[in-house]
Symmetry: C2
Subunit: 160 residues, 2 copies
């Protein structure tokens, strides 16, 4: 079984690195960085997009300045007796703008939710009125983030 990265040659991996570092780089500048002219460079980028290596491009905005400076992880335990609970919970959660990540995880609880809130007041409202009022939720444990040590979106792509 070939590793996923080996399907991409050195230039493609270089392109992925550059586009992760600067998603708005021009094709002309990108081509120069990876040692191509613009035409084949654009072709490679389009193929990376088509093949799903690049899902989208996005501006990374600063949560601190946008009423979302508080990060909290909430472990949610669901009522396991009904299988319907899981689907209901997912559907309820997926549209909440405060919820940035949600995972089904191993262990004593069922879901791990990462949310961004303005402050503790907003957190209390979110937990009580939103999360805990979803049908099937049995209990929760919150982990408050005191300090962000690292937070990156980048997937490492080796060998320049």
């Amino acid at each position: 079984m070939k590793s996923a990265l080996e399907k991409l040659n050195r230039i493609d991996r270089h392109i992925l690195r550059e586009l992760q570092a600067d998603g708005r780089i021009t094709y002309a500048a990108l081509a120069e960085r990876v040692g191509l002219t613009t035409t084949p460079c654009i072709e490679r980028v389009k193929r990376l997009e088509r093949d799903g290596y690049i899902k989208s491009y996005t501006a990374a905005v600063n949560p601190e300045q946008l009423d979302a400076g508080l990060i909290v992880f909430v472990q949610i335990r669901l009522d396991r007796t009904s299988k319907q609970s899981f689907e209901e919970f997912k559907n309820a959660l997926i549209d909440l703008p405060e919820v940035q990540e949600c995972y089904l995880v191993s262990g004593n609880f069922d879901y791990l939710v990462k949310a961004r809130l303005a402050d503790m007041a907003a957190y209390r409202v979110f937990l009580q009125d939103t999360l805990l009022s979803v049908p099937g939720v049995q209990g929760s444990t919150s982990i408050m983030v005191m300090e962000v040590v690292k937070e990156t979106l980048a997937i490492p792509v080796p060998y320049s």
Copy 2:
């Protein structure tokens, strides 16, 4: 105290939404979407960048296709007796490419680390040879992600 969002007018918030949804949109198209001509639109984007609302632009790549399909959260307990441990730990962690997020958190353990690995074999190596061999680490608990329900980078910016 004015909320952070209220420092931005409707057009600026609209720009932030559009750039989060498509980080490579041309200024011409962005200007049309927000109802401006290109010159003032570019000025607003540059100001949002200067004022730190926009931190960077990035391509979102697919971890599944890049040997990083497995997500694991590791709770790390540190030796609390030495204050030096915290700095050492942070410095050791911050450069690890597998570590996508790292937080100092409240509760029984000290750090919560989110890492992306190729598979369970890579996870075991990472935990033993990398995380647990950092000086000052007393213990760890791992939470394996079974299913990704939601994973977004976007910070909600209300009122179009």
